[in-house]
Amino acid sequence: MQLNKKKVAGLLSAATCTLLGSPVQAEENDWDVDSAVLFYAESDGRVSAFEPVISATKDLGDDETLSLKLVIDSLTGASANGAVPSTQVQTFTRPSGNGSYTVDPNETPLDDTFKDTRVAYSMNWEKPIDRNNRRNLGFNISKEYDFTSLGVNALWQHDTNKRNTTYSYGISAELDDIAPVGKVPEPLTSMSAQNKGASSDSRNIVDLLFGVTQVIDKSSLFQVNLSLSEADGYMTDPYKFISVVDNTSGEPTDILFEGRPDSRSRQSLYAKYKKMLANKDIFTASYRFMTDDWGIDSNTFDFTYRFMFNSGYYLQPHLRLYDQSEADFYNYFLLTGENPTYASADYRLGEMEATTVGVKFGRELDDQHSWSVRLEQYLQSGDASPSEAFGQLTQQDLYPGLEATIVQFNYSFKW
């Protein structure tokens, strides 16, 4: 009872080839896709936005990845144009120079011509150089009807200390082209003169980044980034105004186009701490200090705490606290006879505080899918009755403030 002495092994190996030679049936997870839509709505019917985004990362093998991202950003609504309220009806020329809109007495002047769609596309390619070094090259382009932005960036990451410390060195360059509706206004000239120059202007921005990420222990890590940013060129908002008021009554006598310096240097320090607790909850805290040569200093604190539930659900409250000081050339208004080099009443350059309170709820379905929904409330406020106010201005809301609701849905899947 013995198997014939022929070479079973040879025949077997041919048969195995047939068995395993053809492709094995298995799902291939070539792309990690993150998709989301964001709804942003300011109270009192001001700006609202709808923003879908899709981002896909392909694993090219050996830790090499390629990421592509597409964002569409559709905005409508009115935003504060910088002018102060008046006891009289105010009339503003539309940016195109054709037509006008009026603002009722004692109302914050809002520009209601705001309607724009932005399409932004970016790609990123990460590749290991060797065991301890990686490089990441990125490209991005963003287009809206009056604005085009082109950027490139490069990041080098170096692991050391048994991969417990990672140093990052990055540089990015961005070129923006601004082609305002109705051409570029001459800064600090009267709106009524409609003194406009070139059809477009540009600016360039160079950012440098140095970062250290440190593993502290089995469940926590810490990151510190130092960023330097140099912007040169057209930095003014062509659609914003600043009021010139009568030195005793405080009533507007003229409306000027705003004017900002043509360069800005910023430095920021960013620190982030992340810790997983014993029950897999995750606590994240970050702080950013920013300062620039426009005289703005800002502090941003951001905290999240992710409660993990056994069912795969998580709930993540979020708190963000922000404050900034005003730019040196920020003024609520100009006095008659005042003739500054730069002046802006853009609320975004004024002294302000902002609070965001949010919550995110989501679920990891399995390796393949996850979803989440995020709800946030953003509240921005400044000094609406500054000590500079006099005459009728003491009766007005000089810093309109902002209240916005953000709803976001995320869905991630493998494809």
Binding site: V53, E144, N164, E174, K218, Q380
Partner: protein, 73 residues
């Protein structure tokens, strides 16, 4: 405020250089390797926030490159 900033940078550099005693062994990375423990976790949320606050406040960037400016500021 400028001197304050430089002081913070100095602390950061001192902090970074004193880190060689911290860290874990390769086999102790099971928690740190989780996707939700990456510093860049929730990248889409971070990008949305960056975009919103860039267009409503005077500060931007910090964690990385903002990428893809917009005409809103």
């Amino acid at each position: 405020m400028k001197t304050g900033f430089q002081w913070v940078i100095l602390c950061a550099i001192l902090g970074a250089s004193g880190c060689s005693s911290l860290g874990v062994k390769p086999w102790e990375r099971n928690l740190l390797a989780r996707e939700d423990m990456l510093m860049e976790a929730d990248a889409i949320d971070l990008a949305f926030d960056e975009h919103i606050y860039f267009s409503k406040e005077a500060s931007s960037g910090g964690q990385g490159f903002a990428g893809g400016g917009c005409g809103c500021n």
